[in-house]
């Protein structure tokens, strides 16, 4: 079995099969279920929320399906997984077992009851679900192919600079139109939809709290996805368009600069400001070419940016010039 097959099996196929089994179990039990069924339990262990069995039928498959899309997207090519991919993939069987046992188990457990208020306490089931879920996650983790050894990249060729020539390279780093549009439309829907609902049913203070929370979330999204990257006599700087945060590597700290090809989910577990290994920080706005700067202290900064080759070459040239003059 290839590495890719095994990763897809653990991260996508088995979880979907678990959800499908739960779906079949609920449908088989459907004629004997009370309607509505209990779907929520109070702290005392007594059922206190009820709904149509439809929720129990749809919820686990939808959640597992949504996560499977992420897990599927995280598998790229037939290479052994990175640490980030392992985490994403091993969570899939954990999540599938957990939600299927809880939702499907608690619903099927009510079969034969005339009234859902008599439903048994959910606490024992929660314990079973958590243990089974963890076991599935650990098994998934163990069965995944061994972690990939990162290929070290070649330092970029230095750009040719005459004696006292000065140079600057500036480039914006931002998501491609699809991701940017997605982020903006999600925020717009959240502001408009959530705002309208709250405005209709809740007090004004709740609306204010909600909208300010969204402004903070939106600010963080913009702050971590839109950057200006500069390479000049002071080294490399990546500054968020909202002004903060900013990361920099002073010229005298540059050990080497190179171009790497980044797959966000595989290498950094997603987009934004991310860790992609030990002392390896990423400013990842999109997949594709990125500048990788190794510092003298052994830490690494990776910034996904267009024309990364030009930036890396200039940084190499400036760093070389710095070492020669001192």
């Amino acid at each position: 079995m290839t590495a890719k097959t095994r990763m897809l099996l653990i991260g996508v196929i088995v979880p979907l099969a678990i959800a499908a089994a739960g779906l079949v179990a609920v449908i088989v039990a459907l004629p004997t279920l009370p309607d509505p069924v209990a779907v929520h339990w109070g702290l005392s262990g007594e059922a206190d929320g009820f709904s149509s069995p439809l929720l129990a039928i749809l919820l686990p498959p939808l959640v597992v399906l949504a996560y499977s899309v992420l897990a599927f997207a995280a598998v790229r090519g037939d290479e052994p997984p990175t640490a980030n991919q392992r985490v994403i993939l091993a969570i899939a069987p954990f999540l599938a077992v957990l939600i299927t046992v809880i939702v499907t188990g608690s619903t099927v457990g009510q079969s034969g009851l005339a009234d859902a208020t008599d439903a048994a306490s959910i606490v024992p089931l929660l314990v079973v679900a958590l243990i089974a879920g963890l076991a599935a996650g650990v098994a998934g983790w163990a069965l995944l192919p061994g972690s990939a050894v990162r290929v070290t990249s070649e330092p970029a060729e230095p750009l040719t600079l005459r004696g006292d020539e000065r140079a600057v390279w500036m480039q914006r780093a931002e998501p491609n139109r699809l991701v940017a549009g997605l982020v903006i439309s999600i925020l717009a829907v959240a502001i408009a939809g959530g705002g309208l609902v709250l405005w209709a049913v809740a007090e004004i203070p709740a609306l204010i709290v909600y909208l300010s929370a969204l402004v903070v979330v939106g600010g963080l999204a913009v702050g971590s996805l839109f950057w200006r990257v500069t390479v000049d006599r002071s080294g490399l700087r990546a500054r968020s368009l909202v002004g903060f945060p900013r990361f920099s590597v002073p010229l005298d700290q540059v050990e080497s600069a190179s171009v790497v090809d980044v797959v966000p989910l595989r290498d950094f577990g997603g987009w934004g400001i991310r860790f992609g290994g030990v002392r390896r920080l990423g400013v990842i706005t999109r997949g594709g070419e990125a500048i990788e700067v190794r510092r003298r202290d052994g830490s690494t900064l990776v910034v996904s940016v267009d024309n990364a080759g030009t930036g890396a070459s200039l940084l190499t040239a400036l760093a070389l010039r710095g070492t020669m003059s001192t």
Binding site: L161, D164, E165, R166, A167, V168, W169, M170, Q171, T230
Partner: protein
Amino acid sequence: MLITIDPGSAEPLFEQLVSGIRSQVIDGTLREGERLPAARDLADSLEVNVHTVLRAYQILRDEAFIELRRGRGAVVAPRAHDYAQLGADIDRLVADARKLELTAAALAALVRKAYP
């Protein structure tokens, strides 16, 4: 956007800035709508006076390569022309000049002379 300037060159610094930015608009490295760095940031990076950068930006605006907007700074203007043909012509011209063992300065002088 990569800009290099050589303080040792006979060409004034603002002209070096102009030709650096202009050539990148023409070759497509700088795309329409892209915002150029604030004059202050660029001046700081290149250790030149901010007025040198502003002067370069004004010349580029007069040549319609960029737009200067209050509050938004300098933005690459919509391309009035397609420079692909010119780029190809220049490549051929340079190749010919190389064959004839002409220096860049000699070729530039010939081109300049051809303008009325």
